[in-house]
């Protein structure tokens, strides 16, 4: 329930706090190792997004991880995209799909050529 509540929070801080409550609950439970890991990832993503928002001056909080990577590439910031990929262990295959899609949108034909 805390997870659902977290999405109703308007401030990022509140949202993260709610997620931390949920995380605590799941951490004590071996059955829910996957969930705990996912919530932990979610918290990390929100933190990275708020940091990137400041740097790139673009709204990012609330996007999914793939959407965030996509946005970084669109904004000509491939290094940030690559960092997200390694930090969150995004499989190569998905990463290339995201990149391909973004490059087509940007008409970055030179980059596409290098594929």
């Amino acid at each position: 329930m805390a997870i659902l509540e977290s999405y109703e929070q308007k401030s990022l801080e509140e949202r993260i706090n709610k997620l931390k409550v949920a995380l605590k609950r799941y951490q004590d439970d071996k059955e829910h190792a996957f969930e705990a890991k996912a919530i932990d990832e979610n918290i990390r993503l929100l933190q990275v997004q708020s940091q990137l928002e400041k740097e790139l001056e673009q709204p990012l909080v609330g996007l999914s991880l793939s959407e965030t990577i996509h946005k970084c590439i669109i904004l000509n910031n491939s290094s940030k995209a690559s960092k997200l990929k390694s930090d969150f262990k995004v499989p190569d295959k998905r990463f290339w799909w995201i990149k391909l899609k973004a490059l087509v949108e940007m008409r970055g034909w030179d980059e596409l050529d290098k594929f």
């Binding site: 609330g62 998905r94 949108e105």
Partner: protein, 661 residues
Amino acid sequence: MSHLGTSSSTLNVVTLRELARKELTTVLDSVRGKKCLVLDPNISGPLSLIAEFSLLRDHGVEKIHYLQQGPLETELTSLIYICRPQLQYMKYIAEHIQCHQNEQLSSPNTTRYEYSLFFVPRRTRICQKVLEESGDDLLSLELDNTFKELYLDGDYTSIYYAARALMRLQTLFGLFPRVIGKGDCAKQLADMLLRMRREVAVDDPSSTMSVSQNIDSLIIIDRSVDLITPLCTQLTYEGLIDEVFSIRASHVEVDSSIVGPAPQKPTVTAGAATSTSTATSSQPPMPPQPLAKKKKIGLNSGDKLFARLRDMNFAVVGGVLSSVAKRINDDYEAHIISSSGLCERDWNVRHQAKTVAQIREFINKLGGLQSEHQSLRTHTGIAEEIVAVTVTPEFNKALEVQQNLVAGIDINTQNEYIEEMINRQVPLVQVLRLLCLQSLVNGGLKQKNFEFFKKEILQTYGFEHLQTLSNLEKLNMFVKQVSNRNQYAYIRKSLRLIVDEVDEHNPQDVSYVYSGYAPLSVRLLQCVATKSGPSSISISNVGGGATGAVTNASGIRGNGWKGYEDVLRTIPGKTFDEVQRLEDGAIRPKRLIPGQQPHVTLIFFLGGCTYTEISAIRFLAQQDESHREFVIATTQIINGNSLLNSIIQKTDHPGVTNGLS
């Protein structure tokens, strides 16, 4: 065409419509004078099935508004609100009243408004229910999300509404002699129905209900018994219309360019506030249409062409349309020739009278041809749009994966394909349809794959879908494999779910509706409701039930589930078979006259059924030499998308976009 749809159908569902109309007019008459009806937009569809605008007008309704945000401006002072008790509607109404009060404060001479508010029972709709307009073999309660409510939320209110609707049918048609079914919630419904009937007997001992002379049994199938079928792509014409456009209360909305211009008829809706609708059907209270380009089309057996096409496999539809087109063309030409012939003979006074009669006949027939022509145009347009979808590689690839899954053909490429779908960011519901299907037919996914897909979904579609995944796990639709025993494989073999040779043009078995897969739910019905059971063609080693079956006078297998116990045990949910007797213990109050045996079997789908299942049941009725009729009742019509969308966590939080492009 379904012969169930004839007016001679033993079950006269018109009676139900009459009851609903009566309730509605009582509500309208409770407020005197001219009044303005303010409707919950979700109710207007079902409402239009029971009442035309002229009925509303006869009871003093001058205008119809939709209940929505913002001020309500009307010169009428009596307002009747009909809506579901939902918070947002209460807010709108409060807003209206507040607004009117402010008006009065600023100009005290304005007349006072009178408000009446009627709730439509929770979220059931206005009548109990809604009937397909002229199908007469289908009753739907038009509830939403019942499967999710029953199995995820543990909210059993829909069982209560279903029981009440069934009680009403029993009041009209007599007690169902037998109540058979499968599924935990189905069992609860049966129990509630038996209890309600006992309560009626206690409350009013004089109201002795007799046993039905028309209906031999009620079969209740619970959606949880068969989740595989709705996840498969429907391949009948009506089913595909639902998959591509979504059918709501027997209506579909399509771009008006698809179906071409329609002959404009002056409609009675002209006086209604919402008469912007461009629909040709005689539906009165139409929801306001946000885009003028959209057109609402009624899908019912009143349209002869649609009645012929609806249950066919889509592969056959094109051929039928072109032969109908050819026939109409020939008819037109024949008319032109005969009419020119008429003109030449016109001078002949002796033939004058005859000629005029011929002209009238010709003109009358031309009118028929024109409406047929319009229907042809509509369905050709719709079929073209469907083809545009069915020729895409995405559609075919997903279909191939589905068909391999249900047939138990293990190809390793399907996971690769699902991964690619996620990477292409197709709507989540499409991904989940395949993943859930895979989980259901294999008793779960291997741990590695299970966690891989969960992670891919969360990172691609958003972490809030942790809730979606946990919902699906709770419903046993997407789980980790715990044992190697595959129960679906056993069910598939025992009930012959896969039929290799399917002739869509001349179907021999219900499996034609999915081009080779027979819906599990319908196979279960065949176990109890047809003489030969599910193995009518090639008798395999099905528990002996098929051959040993004893049919009683009424035609229903006297054995109930007998012979199928083993396979039923592997399907989740309770199995039951109850006989309803009169108080004195007699099953039938009077002897049946030969030839007047009950021959209607009522089938109730709790938690929803698909158009394809309805088509399959209509097909069964046509095959049965004993001229058995099936009447299908359901909480609502569903498809894989609507089923899963009720379970998918909605994201409605600030700072979120819906996908990349």
